[in-house]
């Protein structure tokens, strides 16, 4: 269930293919095994190289070039990076992206609580609830965004109508600075809770019931059990979910684009890093866009490394 276990088979396979010096010598059987390992790994590896590694390499190269309107990239050194670092909208896009990621991370405790509620023994219609939570995740972002656009509409939206009943005059949620980011973040949370909840409730199922029985005998109540048994034993799943959340958070684009559109007066103050990439790609400034792409890769890498460092302090593998 966790990243640690899911990455294990791949590691095992490669270590068979490249035996260290302490291993036994090549027997025909071992040789055959290694061959099969290669046969199984190559198709996947091919896909990874062609569709992930190669584009990353090309993108890094393009970030050092200036593009003509119809191709024809010319090498221009670090010009794009200089322009990017001097561009206030680049820094603003980092801030916006981090705020969005932060909001998604706030959704994880919510998902843990809902997951434990759904997993209560004897709960009726548990699968109905699970489906209901998961639906936003599988629905098309464009369709989801259409519905939320109507809800958030400043003049005719459901949300502002509800607020007006209690005497609050709501803003144009999706086209006012800061409000727009919060609105997009809320929708993002709503979507991600569904995905996280499924992962987390699967994690809960793997917690042995004896743990709860033993803690009950020791006099632990419901909430004590939640904090002292469920959360610690769920920490590998929580860790996995938070790594995935940070990565998807950094990739924010389609939801933002569909919710706000391209001619939104608040878009420059709300754009994410991927949106910045898109905006420059749209005007044919592909070199700059590629530089933004590299910046996204570096930041996601840094945050993921950071998370793996910190997990030692709080994740329990039993």
């Amino acid at each position: 269930m966790t990243t640690a276990t899911s990455s294990a088979p791949a590691g095992a396979a490669t270590s068979v293919a490249a035996p260290g010096p302490r291993r036994r010598r090549w027997t025909p059987t071992r040789r055959k095994e290694a061959l099969w390992a290669v046969v199984f790994v190559v198709p996947l590896l091919f896909g990874v190289i062609v569709f992930y590694i190669w584009p990353i390499v090309r993108n890094a190269y393009f970030s050092l070039t200036t593009w003509g309107p119809f191709g024809g990239a010319t090498f221009s050194g670090l010009n794009n990076y200089e322009a990017m670092l001097a561009d206030p909208s680049f820094w603003r896009s980092i801030v916006n992206t981090l705020i969005y990621v932060g909001m998604l991370l706030l959704g994880i405790p919510i998902a843990v609580v809902f997951a434990s509620l759904i997993n209560r023994p004897g709960l009726k219609f548990a699968s109905v609830y699970r489906t209901a939570f998961f639906l936003p995740y599988v629905a098309m972002p464009a369709a989801v965004a259409m519905v939320w656009r109507i809800i958030f509409n400043g003049d005719f939206g459901v949300l502002n109508y509800a607020l007006s009943l209690v005497g609050i005059h709501g803003p144009s949620w999706l086209s006012t600075e800061w409000f727009a980011l919060i609105a997009v973040g809320l929708v993002g949370m709503w979507i991600s809770v569904g995905f996280n909840l499924i992962i987390l409730s699967a994690g809960m199922k793997s917690i042995p019931p004896e743990m709860y029985e033993a803690s009950a005998l020791d006099g632990a109540g419901r909430s004590r059990q939640f904090f002292s048994v469920t959360v610690p034993l769920l920490s590998p799943s929580i860790f996995f979910v938070s790594v995935m959340t940070v990565i998807t958070g950094f990739q924010l684009f389609d939801l933002l684009y569909a919710l706000m559109g391209t001619h939104n007066p608040a878009i420059n103050e709300t754009q994410s890093m991927v949106y910045l990439f898109f905006a420059h790609q749209q005007t044919g400034d592909n070199g700059y866009a590629a530089a933004v792409g590299v910046a996204i890769l570096v930041l996601v890498g840094l945050f993921t490394i950071l998370q793996f460092r910190m997990q030692r302090r709080w994740v329990n593998y039993v």
């Binding site: 309107p69 400043g154 003049d155 086209s175 706000m260 007066p265 749209q282």
Partner: protein, 421 residues
């Protein structure tokens, strides 16, 4: 593959044969009158509303050229030019495709387009459009349609507010007063006097700039006009409408687009072009709609813009592509478009059918074109400074910063971009 080669071979043979015959036939349509031409070509455009009309055109074209198969490629406008640029860089542009003013010079100056054939007579179209699609003295596009701007208004809302209808010779002040009066009177219903598109120049602010006597770009396309005091006056007029509530704010217009305000009876006036016709005809308020010319500032003015059909220079079936372009350039094609209400055709004197497609007076758009229209502002890389307009002007219209300050910053940035062209 082999089939294609055979077909091409047959086409060449047939062409050679027919060229011999037709030279004596006195054919009026010029060089490529080979109706047995056999090829498959692509035709790219963005407007799904016009798809039925395009299909009808292809069908009519196939009566003359039964062996040319035309595949339609519809791409939404937002991605259309991004896709074309990618196709252009790999020399796989569609054989025939729609072009607009802001993008034209980029394609022409980079050698992406084939010049129009001598079979097309430029005299058949408004001069402003021939000029729009000429680069360095060569014409690369055949004008397809054109649009000018006028005011659509909702008579029912004017009646409800007790405000007199616009007249043909009204001024900025009268327009502003009516808009304000309606906004004030019908505030409790959430109805505004006017709501128009402010996220691009064509619908409103290019027109007000020209009406104030200003300009967007110099005639040679080398200098920005945004630091001209008259240009600033034109922008200030738009700001004033937003400031006193005559018009919804930028935010409101972003949440609910201008056409939605109008067709849902939430705004009394709507500045727009002929392209809105199809949508308005299908709306529930169609009975209440009337049209007035744009109000006068220092002078009467509207921008004129139109699309063109162009042929890719690297088209593998250029003969077939040009045969189709020549057909689209003709009167028959213009009349089919007009009758279907799809667009206001560019071919002179074919607009009658289009004008008759609506119960309100579309002739105002035609008069505007002939009497007081100004060419749509473009340069070699229009998109570069269009981005600055879109980034900066909302701050002026929303009152975050003074109009003059924003306009001057815009002029500086635009001049820097123009210097790089």
């Amino acid at each position: 593959m082999r089939k294609a080669i055979l077909a091409a071979g047959a086409a060449v043979a047939a062409a050679a044969l027919l060229a011999g015959c037709s030279s004596g036939g006195g054919s009026s349509s010029g060089a490529s009158a080979d109706h047995n031409l056999s090829a498959t070509i692509s035709y790219a455009f963005w407007d799904t509303n016009q798809k039925p009309a395009m299909t009808a055109l292809i069908k009519d074209f196939n009566k003359k050229y039964p062996n040319i198969t035309i595949k339609q490629q519809v791409t939404p406008y937002q991605n259309y030019f991004t896709k074309l640029q990618t196709q252009g860089s790999s020399k796989t542009l569609p054989d025939v495709f729609w072009m607009n003013g802001p993008n034209f010079q980029l394609y022409a100056s980079n050698g992406m387009l084939a010049p129009v054939s001598t079979a097309v007579d430029p005299a058949n179209y408004p001069k402003a459009l021939d000029e729009l699609y000429s680069y360095d003295g060569t014409q690369y596009g055949v004008p397809k349609d054109f649009d000018t701007i006028a005011v659509f208004y909702n008579k029912a809302i004017f009646d409800k507010a007790g405000v007199a209808y616009p007249t043909a010779d009204w001024t900025w002040d009268e327009y502003h007063q009516k808009a304000k009066a309606i906004s004030d009177k019908l505030k409790s219903d959430g109805i505004y006097g006017t709501a128009s598109g402010l996220s691009g120049g064509q619908e409103v602010y290019y027109n007000t700039i020209l009406q104030a006597g200003g300009s967007i770009i110099s005639k040679d396309g080398k200098k920005s006009g945004y630091d001209n005091p008259k240009t600033i006056k034109g922008l200030q007029f738009v700001r004033d409408l937003v400031a006193d509530g005559s018009s919804p704010s930028m935010q409101q217009l972003s949440d609910t687009p201008q056409d939605q305000w109008f067709i849902n009876g939430k705004s009394a006036m709507f500045w727009s072009g002929t392209w809105s016709n199809a949508e308005l005809l299908g709306s529930s308020i169609v009975k209440d709609i009337a049209v007035a010319p744009l109000p006068k500032g220092e002078r009467q003015a509207t921008v004129i813009h139109g699309l063109a059909n162009v042929v890719a220079k690297d088209s593998k079936n250029k003969q077939a592509a040009q045969a189709f372009q020549n057909y689209l350039a003709g009167k028959a094609a213009a009349e089919i478009q007009a009758k279907m209400g799809a667009a206001n055709p560019a071919f002179n004197d074919t607009q009658k059918a289009f004008v008759e497609s609506a119960p309100y007076d579309l002739n105002i758009f035609e008069t505007a074109a002939s009497d007081y229209s100004f060419p749509y502002p473009i340069s070699k890389n229009t998109a570069a400074w269009n981005k600055f307009e879109n980034d900066l002007l909302p701050e002026a219209f929303d009152g975050k910063r003074p109009v003059a300050e924003v306009a001057k910053e815009l002029a500086n940035k635009m001049n820097a971009a123009l210097a790089k062209e």
